[in-house]
Amino acid sequence: MILAYAWREVARRKTRTTLMVMSIFFAIALFVSVLAVLNFFKEAVSLPFKTAGADMVVETFVEPGPWKRVRLARHLGPIPLSVLNEIKGIPGVEDVSGLLLFWSWEAPRMINIAAVDPSDLERVSPVSTRTALGRMFTRLELSVPSFEGYSAILDKRFAETFGLKVGSQIELAGRKFTVIGIVDYTNVPRVGQAEVFIPLNVALEMVRESHEYLRGKGDFVNMILVKLSAGADRKAVEGKIRQIVANATGLNPEKQVKVFTSESILPDTTGVSLLTQQMFKVIAILMLIGIALLVMKTSVAAVTERTQEIGIMKAVGWRDSDIAKLILTESAIQGLIGGILGCIAGYAVAFLYAATAKFNLPHPIVPYSCLPAAAPPQTLSVAMKLSWELIILALVISLAMSLLGGYLAAKHAATMRPAEALRRL
């Protein structure tokens, strides 16, 4: 009955209700939109890592080798394969996988090739174990590449561009490869992606043939994907990785060893610095606090305005607890309406932003040549997802704001003596 009465009161007192609801609405809309967009940023930049099952990408930055038919991608320098085992031994590292990214000039285009390390292929790799067509490499193919001839897996866009199918043959740097599978990464940018995937052993043969300086180096990769275990100390792991790679390559651990995470690429990718993101959060929280104070003041003022009504209620037998229940119910209704509308508006703004936002992954994450056969999906077009945690948090905050105001108002109402309240009329 009190709920019905409170609902009628909220509906009748339009000015007061509108003021309360709008205050909460604006605060929650801002809060939700800021957090939803920031979450969207995080989700968007973490996607290229998630799809490869990695948390970190490790590279070295060196002067590129001479232009030959085959060359290592961009500025990526060779890292001895033995480093992978050392990194695997770091506490907090769950899995490690190495890639050799290189380009092969097949006039008039540069083919972007990723050679995959046979170890951990099923866990951390730019190439999914689930192919759209055909099959994945077998362990035998990866360890003895020429066992049944050379095998390659193609990216779907590349295969479509050149009309290649499973069973087709493709020539890369003078070697013929049979297409055994096609993976579909259309619109799914991922770290270490390429147009063609081949086993590491044959890739090493190919790059060594073209570059004398790479011949005496033993087996190597030029991109390492690292998966961390839950609760790992990222900073500590990153520091150790830098040191291990620097020791193995003789490069400067800070300047020439690059460790990318979704957090580190976020500012470059989204164009919003971490400081700005923090400021947005602070502004949203300050706005919440400001509105909470306004709601409290408005609630107490509303009770003062209702002195007559409260005096009459007390005179006809309403207990302080009944009046408190009524005020709190009214506050909760207003808080919920403001909160729900705020969530809707906040997410509407966030969805609108997400629909128009275009983020470009930094080149070191997708080290394609400038003349790719099929352009990589480098633009992150991620669908905004509703976060029920954020919605529940926003509703809890809106309820807390309105109930705090209601609580103060109820306390104020409890101090009113019925005869005094009636005499004040």
Partner: protein, 222 residues
């Protein structure tokens, strides 16, 4: 039985003290129709407020059926008002945003009974005061006499044994005032204790117990 023993109520406004009720001794038997007369400021309303438990005496005591109201806390006083008192205020004190039906139902809202039962009880009283066709009207859409009748229905909706009416005929024309008094007498005839505070000397004629007040004191009782 209502009994006031040396009941005194002092209001303080800064340094000025006003004795609204000054050492009043009064007994009102169950079922009596008591009329308290006196000019404005004589202490009638304060006396009703003390009996209704809306106010507490500065000194002395107010006993209703043997219960000393001065010993009750806020919660107990509220329950006392809910169970025993129906109060018709001088200025009606209807809530302007509520309809006639909702105003009459107001005392029932916090009670543990079904919405249907509450509505039926309110409707019975609204019909008894002759406003069945105005249930969805707001107080601002009613005449003074109609508002007073709504206030009477609200005072009686809890079926209290004691009905207090403060200046029920003031601000009403003679004919409407008479109708309101007749209504109050009708409910009194059902066995309720009725106490009317008024400056209208005509109402002394209906009293079975007359109390005359001046400057907070009882100057005549008959």
């Amino acid at each position: 039985m209502i009994e006031l023993r040396q009941a005194t109520k002092i209001y303080r406004k800064g340094r000025i003290e006003v004795k609204a009720v000054d050492g009043v001794d009064l007994k009102i038997k169950d079922g009596e129709l008591t009329v308290i007369v006196g000019v404005s400021g004589s202490g009638k309303t304060t006396l009703l407020n003390l009996i209704a438990g809306l106010d507490t005496p500065t000194s002395g005591s107010v006993l209703v059926d043997g219960t000393d109201l001065t010993k009750l806390d806020n919660e107990q006083l509220t329950l006392y008002r809910r169970e025993k008192i129906g109060f018709v205020f001088q200025f009606f004190y209807l809530i302007p945003t509520l309809t006639v039906l909702e105003n009459v139902m107001l005392p029932l809202v916090p009670l543990p009974m079904s919405a249907k039962e509450k509505q039926e009880r309110a409707m019975r009283l609204i019909e008894a005061v002759g406003l069945a066709d105005r249930i969805n009207h707001l107080p601002g859409e009613l005449s003074g006499g109609e508002q007073q009748r709504v206030a009477i229905a609200r005072a009686l909706v809890n079926d209290p044994p004691i009905l207090l009416a403060d200046e029920p005929t003031s601000d009403l024309d003679t004919q409407t005032g008479d109708q309101v008094v007749e209504l109050l007498r009708r409910f009194h005839a059902q066995g309720k204790t009725l106490i009317i505070a008024t400056h209208d000397e005509r109402l002394t004629q209906i009293a079975s117990h007359l109390v005359r007040m001046r400057d907070g004191k009882i100057v005549e009782e008959a």
